[in-house]
Subunit: 182 residues, 2 copies
DNA sequence: TGCTACTATAGGACTAATCATATATAGGAC
DNA sequence: GTCCTATATATGATTAGTCCTATAGTAGCA
């Protein structure tokens, strides 16, 4: 499971709690590449601990709930490096809009265009989020090796949205010039 | 769940068995837009029948197992049309390669390039599959309304792979000119 | 003769992910 | 005073999807 390895990667950078992982990582820079639910993060931490890939220290707090701080172990690091170099199967993408469009011939043109325009709106928002992320450009000489990797990831995510938007615009134009089926 | 509605759409075209759905639809033209496991198809048919959206007639065969032929009902058709016009939430994409690349700075350039090249190979195969699908072009005057929709779907899937390939090639070039971190 | 593949349905076990809720204290808003 | 948010962990229930196996007759291959 990749989530487990993403968490190992984050704990390799520094020790963190489940709460830290959620609020500082999965809700921030990791959000556009691996969304994860709070409940799933905690359960994955349990599994990683059971595997011996991370260990836990409890920080007692009195005004707030105690913190369970997780640290990666040597075997955890080894497992992470192994995963990092292992080619993973392509993810399976199931896009409901494409499923709808496959059967859309029975709808009037305006209904199809309406559907595509709602998608366009949602995708525009997502592209805006991608473009709002602040990572130095690839030609920037100040960019660290880490930042360059993050930039590459961001560029694919952005280009993917751009491709979707271009296609949506073209699709809308094409549907609009189709003879109406009434 | 979209799988249920894809099945409704297919049963609206003609009555079919679970086996037909798997071998003639989900393994063929639907494959590039909604992969589905045989077990899940049968279980979804059960749910659709319980909902009253499809009905079943058993065709008794003596040399082979009996066939359970499913037909869409009026309420099933209504539900399908409702779904067809309802905007669906954007699917969440979790791409293990992007997760790996996010943490790849600690790997030597050659290891990163190796990972990207394996992905390149897999994505090339997928693009080839997309291009092997035979649907008439959008300007083809003979193309039916249905075929035009299928063409639009195919074009997005193909362009998506093309975008991924272009990015992979660019990424490989960029990694190769990075100073090695030894 | 045994092996595999095709036709056809179905269930058990499991993984990955989501949603809702519970606990407990502190602090700010209205 | 009440409500909401933040901090922090945890569990129950459910959904979506995968993998494996069972059943049972036919047919082709070597």
């Amino acid at each position: 499971m990749s989530l487990a390895h993403v968490i190992l990667g984050l704990l390799q950078q520094q020790e963190r709690t489940g709460y830290d992982l959620k609020t500082e990582c999965f809700n921030q820079c990791i959000a556009h590449l691996w969304q994860a639910d709070q409940a799933q993060i905690y359960r994955t931490l349990d599994k990683l601990e059971a595997q011996g890939w991370i260990v836990c220290t409890v920080e007692i707090q009195h005004d707030r709930p105690n913190r369970k701080v997780f640290q990666i172990t040597e075997s955890g690091k080894a497992e992470f490096i192994r995963w990092l170099q292992t080619h993973q199967p392509l993810p399976i993408l199931r896009d409901p809009l494409l499923a709808q469009l496959h059967f859309a011939a029975q709808l009037p043109n305006e209904a199809i265009v309406h559907l595509l325009e709602q998608e366009l709106e949602a995708r525009r928002e997502k592209l805006a989020e991608c473009e709002a992320v602040d990572v130095p450009s690839l030609d920037d000489p100040i960019a660290s090796r880490d930042q360059k990797m993050h930039r590459l990831v961001l560029e694919l995510v952005t280009q993917r949205e751009q491709t979707y938007l271009n296609w949506l615009q073209k699709a809308i134009e094409i549907i609009q010039i189709q003879p109406s089926d009434t």
